[in-house]
């Protein structure tokens, strides 16, 4: 079979874009799971919320994309802090199942509210002017906004990895993930750390929502359709591994893109097939510890 370079590159680019979202979202899930031991099923809804807050900022307050990049993570972090303080913190001593039920229920409530208010058709969000257009690379056309999303998510992912794996603050986080009561016995305010970590994870989801707003429609279901794939990514990468979630996120995005080119019929299932294989061969995930 003959290979059409522009079509292949086009699919690779879509794969990289999807991979950016997988990586950003699974990174947030990994950070939250590491410290809180809670699988944050609200993550998709929080991503959707991020896109909606960006839309509100633009349409109700006249604040554009760049403001959204700054304000949405702050708003979503505050929302996360509130959820953790009011609800999640009562669940740490209970079975994992309760955290799952609560966060899943919250996701349904949030999506329900937004579907009721805005319907499911989706709202348009215009690309910021500076990021419209694109580059002709000769073998393909690269839209500026997509390049921006890929680079920005890479920077955020690697920055988060750096902070967690290479800094003093990160060493508290890693230690508290292993043995929170001992870290507390050393005088570290671990409950506050847990609250802020959840806030940070939710802010990442919100930020991904802002990135997504100009590409996809801002719609109440945008999170739930994405998050299923993201959970598969997390299972493949191994729960709780930071670098694992970044590499698997981008890697699976690319694999998905390639599948779209070479065997489009399988493109929507390839990630789940890989998940099934990984679960059989290495149940802890590619980068998981146990």
């Amino acid at each position: 079979m003959s290979i059409s370079v522009p079509a292949l590159m086009g699919q690779l680019l879509i794969g990289l874009i999807n991979g950016s979202f997988y990586a950003l979202l699974s990174l947030g899930l990994a950070v939250i799971f590491g410290l809180l031991n809670i699988i944050n099923f609200t993550h998709g809804a929080q991503y959707m919320l991020g896109a909606f807050v960006a839309w509100f900022l633009l349409n109700k307050a006249g604040l554009g994309y760049w403001w959204a990049l700054l304000l949405v993570p702050i708003v979503l972090a505050a929302f996360g802090v509130l959820i953790e303080r009011l609800m999640l913190k009562h669940l740490y001593k209970l079975d994992h199942l309760y955290g799952l039920l609560l966060t899943f229920g919250l996701a349904l409530v949030l999506e329900g509210i937004f579907t009721h208010q805005f319907g499911s058709a989706g709202l348009p969000y215009n690309m910021p002017e500076k990021l419209t257009g694109g580059y002709n690379l000769g073998f393909m056309f690269l839209p500026t906004y997509r390049a921006w999303v890929i680079v920005a998510s890479l920077v955020i992912c690697l920055g988060t990895w750096f902070v967690i794996e290479r800094t003093k603050l990160g060493s508290y986080l890693r230690a508290a993930t292993e043995n929170p009561s001992l870290v507390q016995a050393f005088g570290v305010n671990v409950p506050r750390m847990i609250t802020l970590t959840y806030g940070f994870g939710v802010a990442l989801a919100g930020l991904a929502g802002v990135f997504a707003a100009p590409i996809y429609q801002v719609s109440p279901q945008m999170g739930s359709s994405l998050i299923i794939v993201v959970f598969a990514v997390v299972v493949i990468g191994g729960m709780g591994s930071i670098m694992g979630s970044i590499l698997t996120g981008f890697g699976l995005g690319i694999i998905e893109g390639l599948t779209k080119y070479f065997y489009p019929e399988a493109s929507s299932t390839v990630i789940f097939v890989i998940m099934a294989i990984v679960l059989m061969v290495r149940p802890q995930g590619l980068f998981g510890q146990r």
Partner: protein
């Protein structure tokens, strides 16, 4: 007489439904080395954990440097000057040796410098770049667990079974470390199974049985009490 830095009175503690301490009472004065002796399950480890609020529920009174701590959260208790070396050592596998050493935040001025600590534990200096703290040998991990609380400015050290499972030569090295720490004026509470290790180091001994203090005596009274001690410890 030196000032009291730790006073535990009528301490009761629970893990869930199980009641593990039944009215523990003892005191420790500044600069003293005090042991909590007793059989496994007598409540010695639980006593140290209860001092830091690491048990499920506790009642009674624990005064650290003049401050009542029974209702304080764990991280606040540490800031009153308590350093804790847990029985399981608690070395973090996701932290390098050096990160493990520098993890506990400074809680007061006057802690030992990293250089002084490496001087006291030369093995740790050699192994400081080891990427995973848990890759160290048992003895090295024990040293690391002790070393990291010397940096923080904590003056009251709670050391839980530091000789457990270690070779005699390492136990002797740890004994010399305790002597040095005592010379530096640290106050030390030792939970020990190894009485022969603890006896020459301690100023006073408490025998713990069924979650309370059954006997107490000074180092000078020790020879006269050996018979009683053998009965309690079953050695």
């Amino acid at each position: 007489m030196a000032e009291e830095v730790l006073r535990v009175s009528d301490l009761n503690a629970w893990y869930g439904e199980s009641h593990v301490l039944h009215g523990m009472s003892f005191t420790v004065r500044e600069g003293e080395v005090v042991t909590l002796l007793g059989r496994n399950g007598a409540g010695r480890t639980s006593t140290l954990k209860a001092i830091l609020g690491l048990v499920g529920r506790r009642a009674g009174s624990i005064v650290v440097n003049g401050v009542e701590t029974i209702r304080l959260p764990t991280y606040r208790i540490a800031h009153l000057g308590v350093g804790y070396c847990p029985e399981e050592r608690g070395i973090f596998s996701s932290l390098s040796v050096e990160e493990n050493l520098t993890l506990p935040p400074e809680i007061a001025k006057g802690g030992m410098s990293v250089d002084e600590i490496y001087g006291m534990f030369p093995n740790l200096r050699e192994r400081r770049a080891t990427a995973q703290g848990t890759k160290l040998s048992g003895g090295e991990q024990q040293m690391l667990a002790m070393a990291r609380i010397l940096r923080t400015g904590a003056r009251i050290l709670l050391l839980d079974e530091i000789t457990e499972g270690l070779a005699p030569v390492i136990v002797q090295a740890l004994g010399r470390v305790i002597v040095k720490l005592k010379e530096r004026g640290f106050t030390i509470v030792l939970v020990e199974q190894n009485f022969r290790f603890a006896a020459p180091l301690a100023d006073r001994h408490y025998v713990v049985e069924h979650g309370r203090v059954a006997e107490s005596f000074t180092a000078a009274e020790l020879p006269a009490r050996t018979g009683m001690l053998h009965e309690y410890l079953g050695v």
